[in-house]
Amino acid sequence: MRRVWFLARAEVLHVVRDRATLAQVLVVPVVQLLVLSNAATFRIVNTPTYVVDFDRSTASRGLITRFQASGRFDVTGAAASPDQANDSLLRGEATMVLTIPRDFERSLVRTGSAPIEIALNAEKGSAAGIVQAYASNIVAAYASELAARTGPVAGAAPRIEVRARNWYNPTLNYKHYMVPGILVALVTLIGTLLTAQNIAREKELGTLEQLNVTPITRGQFIAAKLLPFWVLGIVNLAVGLAVGWLVFGVPMRGSLLLLFAAAAVYLVVALAIGLWISTLVETQQQAMFVTFFIMNVYLLMSGLFTPIDSMAPWVQVVSQLNPVRHFVTIARGVLIKGAGLREIARPLITLAVYGAIMLTLAIRQYTKRIA
């Protein structure tokens, strides 16, 4: 036990003494959290919209006002010329062109129905589908508003009243969704990268040989290597959570104890992956490259940025093998939805199994190198 303790202390001293590493561990994540949660967003606001209004009536102006009032659309140009609208689409200045034909109002009054045209620039981001859904919503809401204004139907016709509720995120704040996910990404990156790099450096410097000839056992060696980074990961998560709570007002509906317990399990997985990578590589550069490559795949397929439910069916199946996915689910579940142990049992057990497998794999791989 004392050996583990000594080696772990040496590891801590290494981290604390090297200013660059310390900054990498403590400052960079906070900055990334602040930048990422603002940049990594599919929130739809201020979509540049070009309006071609041939009608110029109260009804058409009303529709345009509804678009602008929603906050999701920003009328950047208007002219009664389809050519100019097309030009602004080609230039990429407009993401949506709303065309209201002549006789829009008259047709509404006479027949109760009128067409409009919405053209979307689908080249810009994958958000075009979401923009389209929001635009259709606004149009439908305006139609029923007009209907209500023209007077309710005479007689006591029965009505079906539809009420809608947004659970868990009633203000539709995108940051509340992103921050828990980004926290997971940061904890994962730091844990995996530092572990992989750390052992690769010992290899490069030749100090690993020295450690190998000491009476320390493999289990002790790995425990001593993982323990400091495990603590560091927990501290990182705590700091990130505090920032998320103070700066972005991220909700914490569930038990924090549960979240940290899950994080403790998850970090074993992340660190074991780092350890496993370090046994595959020779130099720090390779360690960074391989980690970066694997993390890239893990993070993009974790449902962190885009919902798992939107992915192709076979990707959804494959992503079950992705530990990041499970911890993202847990973090969002506990923080945003207030899920308890019973609700997160499935991903948590998966993580525990994953951790045991990865750790065994890493230790096995390691044995060969020492022998």
Binding site: G92, P152, I160, V281, T306, A312
Partner: protein, 368 residues
């Protein structure tokens, strides 16, 4: 000239000998195209719906069958009471829920107002909003048929999705992916390769050799330029064969702009290596200085319009932003220089400024 050839050969050996890095360089773009094509999507489809129906009757059953027939929804649970909804949502088993009033048909028959509550899991706000809108449309359509709706006013939108009618995500990502791959290979690899010579002290040997400074730069940089170009062509071919990504504009223009962007990235790599002394710092510098901006601030994945003003302002100095703009224009819209001249000029200006700066910084180091 012979000396330059020797340096080139040495550099090629370096690249070929480091198998693991080589595999990563080759596999990354290939895998990246697949991931972006299949995984990075925002379509809302096959929504898991829970139904709360305290007293099933012909009307609620009819509405429920409408949901099943809509194609967008899959009913995963039918509950008599709303209490267990929470746990369904918390586990993620349900994405939306529809709750009927008790004695629905009876009240409707007696002319009393009835209520349907639609709940969306708004943890991810867009999905929540879209699920709600879809569900409301299903109920509304049924109500219209019953003739119970208020006076019918309809505005019928015709929606045309330009440039990418099927909204294939691979179409959107391939241009950005090219920028990403070029940044990794040109900036990251160049920076590391130059710093490694410094770290191991072999840079001194190179400087003491009869090679001229520009020859050293050309010799170090050319192999990566070739690798970069090859993987871009690879990405385009894969995207066309597997995902049938269109290439509507001029290929020559696209390749020319690609070359411009490679020059910018290479210069950035040289600049970073001139300012740093260890591979690790160079790597971090390249990661933070070039790779992250390329990922986040180029409009490649996330729409720039949604970002705060500060980030949008920063995005103007990110070279990838302009390259993505040009590449998308050429590939998806089929437009030429008539529309893209300003972005091309900006890239050109960036390339020349950075090229001068990087050669200068290399010279300065020579003298000290």
């Amino acid at each position: 000239m012979k000396a330059l050839g020797g340096l080139l050969r040495k550099e090629v050996y370096h690249i070929l000998r480091d198998r693991r890095t080589l595999v990563v360089i080759i596999a990354m773009p290939v895998l990246q195209v697949v991931i972006f094509g299949y995984a990075i999507r925002t379509d809302v489809d096959r929504v898991r719906l829970a139904i709360v129906d305290p007293t099933p009757d012909p009307v609620t059953l009819a509405i429920r069958s409408r949901f099943d027939a809509a194609g967008v929804f899959r009913t995963v649970a039918v509950l008599p009471r709303p209490e267990s909804l929470d746990s369904l949502f918390e586990r993620g088993d349900a994405q939306g829920a529809v709750a009927f009033d008790p004695a629905f048909a009876e009240k409707l028959g007696r002319g009393l107002p009835v209520r349907i509550l639609i709940i969306g899991d708004a943890t991810e706000p867009n999905t929540g909003g879209i699920v709600q809108a879809y569900a409301a449309a299903v109920v509304q359509a049924y109500a219209n048929e019953l003739g119970t709706h208020t006076a019918g006013i309809r505005i019928v939108p015709t929606i045309r999705t330009r440039f990418n009618p099927t909204r294939e995500s691979s179409n959107l990502f391939v241009p950005g992916l090219m920028a990403f791959v070029l940044t990794i290979i040109s900036s990251l690899m160049t920076a590391i390769s130059l710093t490694r010579e410094k770290e191991t002290g072999t840079m001194e040997a190179l400087l003491a050799s009869p090679l001229r400074p520009w020859q050293i730069i050309v010799g170090k940089v050319t192999p990566y330029l070739v690798v970069g170009f090859a993987s871009v062509v690879g990405v385009i071919v894969e995207a066309r064969l597997v995902f049938h990504v269109p290439l509507r504009g001029s290929v020559t223009l696209l390749l020319f702009e690609g070359l411009l962007f490679i020059l910018v990235s290479l210069s950035l790599g040289i600049l970073i290596s001139a300012r740093t002394s260890s591979q690790r710092v160079a790597m971090m510098g390249a990661l933070i200085g070039t790779l992250l901006p390329t990922m986040l601030l180029s409009g490649f994945i996330f729409p720039l319009e949604s970002m705060p003003v500060v980030l949008r302002a920063i995005s103007y100095i990110v070279p990838a932003r302009w390259f993505v703009l040009v590449a998308r224009g050429v590939m998806l819209k089929g437009i030429g220089l008539a529309y893209l001249w300003s972005a091309t000029l900006i890239l050109l200006a960036m390339a020349s400024a950075l090229l001068v700066a990087s050669t200068k910084s290399f010279h300065e180091r020579l003298e000290t």
